[in-house]
């Protein structure tokens, strides 16, 4: 009975072409890159007389060996597809960009780290007492939208001829300018090449607008001098 079964299997196998390939020297494989290198010497006579046929035959043999290697890898099935887990590529290839250097900590980050202050996440919606409803903390229809502040209460002693709305706008600009200045200063301190020129002596003024950047002074100049620009 066994003999019959073997004969049947042999007959069946003979129907199909073999997947075996004989090579003098084993191929070198980098399956992670689907790469195979054949070190066997080429048949130069065949190269001259029937090049394309020979190259096709050679390619078929080498590809067969590579496919054999790929099919030996561990298989898993997902989404009706048969997937094979590729090993890490072994060919050493250069990167396209240098390895990134870890960014330095900003002044606040170093302080927070030393003190052990952790960043707590604030919720998007805040309950607004005056309107008795939930409003977003920032963005469209936010809680402290300047559009809603049509009135500013000033004490009796305050100057009645001063434009308080303008003053508020100026203060906002100062805040932004100060924040931008600090941000640039952090970069110049932590990143290499951020500070290029020798620092110039800073003119100290009691004027708050010292943080405001002149329209002619660009961000780069700010970095290069390493000091707040003169207003």
């Amino acid at each position: 009975m066994d003999v019959d079964l073997e004969a049947v299997l042999e007959a069946k196998k003979a129907q199909y072409k073999s997947i075996e390939v004989r090579k003098d020297v084993e191929l070198q494989y980098d399956v992670g890159n689907l790469l195979a290198t054949d070190l066997n010497p080429l048949d130069h006579h065949a190269m001259k007389s029937r090049r394309d046929e020979y190259l096709k035959g050679l390619a078929r043999d080498n590809t067969q060996l590579l496919i054999n290697k790929i099919w030996q890898l561990p298989v898993e099935k997902a989404d009706g597809m048969i997937l094979v887990e590729l090993p890490t590529p072994s060919t050493v290839l250069p990167r396209e960009k240098p390895i990134p250097k870890p960014k330095g900590l900003t002044a606040w980050e170093t302080f927070a780290k030393a003190k052990g202050i952790k960043n707590r996440k604030r919720s998007r919606m805040v309950f607004d007492e005056s309107g008795q409803e939930w409003k977003p903390r920032w963005g469209y229809k936010r809680v402290d939208d300047p559009k809603d502040k049509w009135m500013i209460e000033i004490p009796d002693r305050a100057d009645p001829y001063e434009d308080y709305f303008e003053k508020q706008a100026e203060e906002k600009k100062e805040k932004i300018a100060k924040n931008e200045y600090k941000r640039l200063k952090n970069i110049s301190r932590t990143q290499k090449g951020g500070r290029l020129k020798a620092p110039l002596p800073p003119p100290l003024t009691k004027d708050m607008s010292k943080y405001q950047v002149r329209p002619e002074v660009t961000a780069n100049e700010c970095i290069l001098s390493g000091h707040p620009p003169t207003s």
């Binding site: 196998k13 689907l34 290198t37 054999n68 048969i82 990167r95 396209e96 960009k97 390895i99």
Partner: protein, 314 residues
């Protein structure tokens, strides 16, 4: 220049921010993109060759439509500039002149400075469109086959092989769909020439799990001859190949596998005083004081004498 401006020029939209992030240096990099540039004068062969090669690089290919009068070997800065603008670290520059007919310069960059450049001349060219049969899916990962011992013995060819792998390998995949193995690119080196052939892979039944491979040529067919080359120094290449420490797989200490495959571990202990070990208490093994019921009071050597003996002796 760009590195310096990082953070100084803050992007105003999320889209711009994402664009900057994709272009920034990373620990695990993006798939390398290739730039296809046409020179001042090009021949039909060269333009068609560039088009056909770009098919194998898509979607990581940028094909420039206009002609660029550049000389990569004389002045690489223009190519570097183009690469930086389009965020491509690989390039192929095609040109045609009487001195160098049907010329292709294939190169790669590190930090947008040319690393390696190899000039190849196209001796025979058959376009993709000439091959009626055979096709492959766009963007599928190719199998790469290198033949010919020149790829292992000659310096220029060794580097060229590395460039070809870098260029054609595509995305680095962890998992591969077995249906996706649909084409193979073969490079055969003989007598200073590289024969570039592309075949569609047809998998046929073989009676066992692994299929029988049949190939159908799908083109393009290029016979390339090595001309000039501008290869980087070994030290620069070594620097470029450095892997970041964070990506390296962490070595697990004190764990090994024996020849049978069983996992063995090593445990390091302090010196122990075996006389003072704390073990489980077993009452039966406890050392007790000498008891009268089991032992003779006279000593260990005296034996019990039977009463009969004493009466018989007298």
């Amino acid at each position: 220049m760009d590195m310096q401006n990082q953070g100084i020029v803050k992007p105003k939209t999320q889209r711009a921010k994402r664009a900057l992030e994709t272009k920034a240096p990373k620990l695990v990099e993006n798939t390398k993109s290739a730039l296809f540039i046409r020179g001042g004068h090009t021949s039909e062969t060269v333009t068609q060759a560039l088009k056909d090669l770009s098919v194998f690089k898509k979607p990581e290919a940028v094909v420039l439509r206009r002609k660029n009068i550049l000389r990569p070997f004389e002045d690489a800065t223009s190519v570097e500039f183009l690469g930086q603008k389009s965020d491509c670290s690989l390039f192929v520059f095609g040109s045609h002149s009487k001195k160098r007919p049907h010329n292709l310069v294939i190169g790669r960059m590190y930090d947008f400075h040319v690393l390696d450049m190899v000039e190849l001349g196209i001796e025979n060219f058959t376009s993709l469109s000439s091959f009626k049969s055979g096709s492959c899916a766009l963007g599928s990962k190719p199998c790469l086959v290198f033949a010919g011992d020149q790829f292992e013995t000659e310096v220029e060819f060794i580097r060229l092989k590395n460039i070809f792998i870098d260029f054609f390998r595509g995305q680095e995949l962890k998992k591969l769909a077995l249906d996706g193995v649909d084409h193979v690119i073969t490079f055969t080196a003989a007598e200073g020439r590289v024969y570039f052939r592309v075949f569609q892979v047809i998998l046929k039944k073989s009676g066992c799990k692994t299929p029988r491979v049949e190939l159908e040529e799908m083109g393009p067919r290029l016979d390339l001859v090595m001309r000039r080359s501008h290869l980087s120094s070994d030290s620069l290449l070594k620097q470029a190949c450095k892997k970041p420490a964070a990506v390296k797989p962490k070595k697990v200490k004190n764990v090994s596998r024996d020849s049978f495959g069983s996992k063995l571990g090593r445990v390091h202990m302090k010196r122990q005083d075996f006389t003072q070990l704390q073990t489980r208490k077993m009452k039966g093994l406890k050392r007790t004081k000498p008891h009268s019921s089991t032992r003779n009071k006279d000593g260990p050597h005296t034996t019990k004498r039977a009463k009969l003996d004493s009466t018989a002796s007298s």
